[in-house]
Each structure stands twice: as C-alpha cells, then as structure tokens.
Amino acid sequence: MAKRIDVSGLTAYYGSHKAIEDISMTVEPRSVTAFIGPSGCGKSTFLRTLNRMHEVTPGGRVEGKVLLDDESLYGPGVDPVAVRRTIGMVFQRPNPFPTMSIYDNVAAGLRLNGAYRKSELDGVVEKSLRGANLWNEVKDRLNKPGSGLSGGQQQRLCIARAIAVEPQVLLMDEPCSALDPISTIAIEDLIGELKEQYTIVIVTHNMQQAARVSDRTAFFNLAAIGQPGKLIEIDDTERIFSNPSVQATEDYISGRFG
C-alpha cells in the first residue's frame, strides 16, 4: 500500500508570492518523515503540495515535479481529486464532519468512492477505528455525532477517516498541536503503528515529537520574512538531532533561534 514520494525542483506560489523554492527530496515508503522549521518556512505549504491541496487556496500554484512511485502528481490529465483519494491528510485542528455520526465520518471517504454494501462498510469502519486506536472508546456510540468526542478522540477519528480509504501516503499537518499531552502520546503511538503500512509525512513544531516519531527529519528555513522557504537538509532523525551537517540546523535544534 505504501509508496515512495520523489520531489524534484518544487516551487510553490501564493499569487505572486513565492512561498517555497526549489525543494527536492525523497520520502521512503513505510517510514515516518518529519518536517521541522520556524513558522512561515513553508513546511505546511510543502506538505499541501504533496496531495495537491495547495492549489485549493486562491492564487496557489506549483512548479516542479512530484512523483508517487513513478506516476507524476502534476502531470497533464491528472485529476487532483484522484490524487487526494490516494494521499490522505490529517489537519492541525481535528475536523470531523460536525453533521455526521462517528460511523458516517469514517465511512465518508468510502461513500465518495462509490456504493458499498452495509456489511462491507461495517467491516471497514471497525477496522479503521481499530487502526486508529479508537474502536473501544466509541463502539457503543457509533451513531452519536463525531463532534461530541474529546479533541484527541476527534483527531483519532480524523485519522480513522483518512485510513479508511487505504491511502498510499498519510500527510499530517501538526496533528497534535491542538491536543493535550496524553492525547498527543496516543497519536504518537498510533503513528508508530501506522508506519508499518503507510508512508507518513508529519509537520511538527515540537522537536521532541519529531525525534520521537520520525525516521527521517527535514529541516526547512527561510532567509528572512517574505523570502521563500527552503529545504536546508534532510537526513536520518538521529543524525539531524545529534550531528547535523549544516550549522543552521544545529542552531535551530539547540534553540539558538526560531
């Protein structure tokens, strides 16, 4: 299920503003890659170019290449809707559909893909909720609204919703920044389990989190406010946090700026 992402020479704009410039990297399948860097360095923007969510923002456009295994995401005739069905996303703030029950939230993606039999849906919903470590907490109230859950449960519901369609890649945009420490640990444990099946990319402001959950870490930075963000380096997480090859990375990690 998991696929490799190859990015080369990717530049993204908001209107005339260049948000990120000339980014190239490879994300290995069945691994967790963390993006760290100061606010405004473009790591979220870059994440959103990986499932073509960037172009949803008015004025958003992208130059460069993104390959999923060998298929180009930005090739001519590629439907962004189809891309987003293969590459799931979890957002900063938990965003279950407020008008839907827990069950319907998880089933939402499947229903988009076409008609399913009730028994099939039941199976996938249970599997996804188990996969997101939420099943035991909600199995007795699947028909209650998802917005009635706690923040951490809602975020796990969103993860269940994303993995229900069995994506190739799971993108997470600061998934724990709105959660308390206990919920955060629950999500981090979950990420550790999910990486056995999925390619995971996570943006985080929390460097301990990056060190805890990721195999590889990419450090982004920008020269000054208004300048485009750039990829400074990407390496094994251990190396980034112990002996990075660029001075700026070490300065950032040791808290000397940012």
Partner: protein
Amino acid sequence: MKIADTIAPPPQQELPPQAPKPSKSARHRGDRIFLGLSRGSGIALLVIMAAIAAFLTWRTANALAVNEGNFFTTFDWNANADPPVFGIAVLAFGTVVSSVIAMALAVPIAVGIALFISHYAPRRLATPLGYVIDLLAAVPSIVYGLWGALFLVPHLSGLFYWMDDYLGWTGVFDYSGGAARSLFTVGIVLAIMILPIVTNVSREVFLQVPKMHEEAALALGATRWEVIRMSVLPFGRSGVISASMLGLGRALGETMAVATVLSPSFVIKLSLLDPGGGTFAQNIAAGFNEAGDVGRDALIASGLVLFVITLVVNGGARMIIARRKEYSGANA
C-alpha cells in the same frame, strides 16, 4: 483525610504593584447606561407586542360577537351586511397555498443561486451578482404586483394550458381558460419577491462554513459538488431553514402584489390555475376602505388569524432546527 488536605496550597505570589485605576463609578458608567438602554428596549418590545395582541383580541371579540356565520368555516365575507356573515376559510386556504407555491418555487432556486455565488462563481462575477440580488430586495412590492398583472398574467396562459394538458389529471392543474389571475400566478410573483431574501441569507450562511470542514472533504478526494453535499449544505441547513422562514413570513403577509395580481372571489377551488380565492392581507387591503365598524373589526379578526399562522410556522421552523442541534455545526 479529604483529598483537598493532601494538596499543598499554591505558593503565595507577589502581586505586581497596582496601577492607579479610574474611580469605580467612572469605570462602570458605560455599563450602567448600556444596561439601561438594552433592558429598556427589551421591555418596550414586550409592551408593544402585548398592546398589539390586546388590541387585535379586543376588536376580534367585537367582531365575533355579532358574526352570524361560523368564523372558521364560512365561505363568505359579508361583514357589512345586516346581520354580518363572514369566515376565513377561503382566506386561510389562499394564503397558505400561495405561500407554499412561492416557497416550492423560490427556495431551490435561491439555494442554487447562493451556492453559485459562494462556491462556484469567480469573485469578479460573484460580487456584482450579490449587488443585483440586493437590489431586487429593494424593489417595492407594488412594482412586482404591476409587473405580475401587466406582464406575467397575459403571458402565463400558454404555460397554464400546457400544465393542464400534462398535469390536468391531478385536478390541481386544471385550467379552463381566461385571465391567469390565479393563486398559482400569485405564487410565482411571491416566489420572485422572496427570492432575494432567501438567497442573501443562504449565501451568508454558506460563506460562513469553516474552511476546515471543506478541506476535510477535499482531502478525502471530494469533488466540488461532493464538498458542498458533505460539508456546506449540512452546515448551512438550519440557516437555509431560517432564510426560508423569513421568506415565508414575507409571502404570508404580502398585500399589494397579491391584491394587484389576483382576481379574488370567495370560493375554494381545487384547481390552482383558475382565477379566484383570496388571502388575508389582500382581503384586508381590498375591503378596509369601504368597511363599516363591524367590517373593520372583522378584517382585524382575520389579521389576528394571519398573526397566529405566522407564529405557528415560525415555531415549527424553530423545532426543526432545535431537533438536530447536536448535529449542527455550531458546537464544532
């Protein structure tokens, strides 16, 4: 031992030096004035409402005391005769039916326009379109009435004959020719009149759908229509109901446009396309000038019924909204 005893009291913190504060009365004067103003307005509203209700009830009681017919079932309005005989059956039927037709025509179109402006149209088109809709809301109702009577009525016969051919078997769309001054025509004019308000309120609601709900659908691989179905419409549902109720309120009470278009008569016909029928507001406008004392009281009594119908409709809408409260977007 109580749990509270085991917890050490928080260490006393040094308070920062106090900045000199303005005197208490000066700080709170604004609060007091505002409290007085808002409380006064609230009480004034209740008093006015109570006064209106008392007035309507009193005059209604006067009228009903002398009515020789049944107020609810009589198909006639001879309030100035001696003895007076009048009933609201025809008016209630005409008011409700014409408003329901207006809603059935206007709400789907209004929701469509609102979605187009909020989610499909490029901004360059959406803004002027919004202005045009606002402009429509500002046109006086007599203008819609004149347009209906002078333009729409002569042009509707063809459509009515067509409906008679294909839908006549229902009985509801029987058309026997003649000027198209019927309840259905009134419904069409009312639909056009309430279109702007329903559109505007719906558009505002659709624009308020949180970005994160739409992105949730997008990230699952939803097309634009699927985003609207999954996050925009459910979020906007209660707002669209409220918008429709505002429109319905206007349709129920509309006077001049109905009086100009309709050819009134005190009959209830199954066919909506044949002329005849009447509405509360139209009947009051048509009869008030020539009415005697009892006649005026009778018209006021019919006004009270319209007041109650509007109240019931609004209450019903609130119940619909409240029943699905836990699923509304409000607590997300």
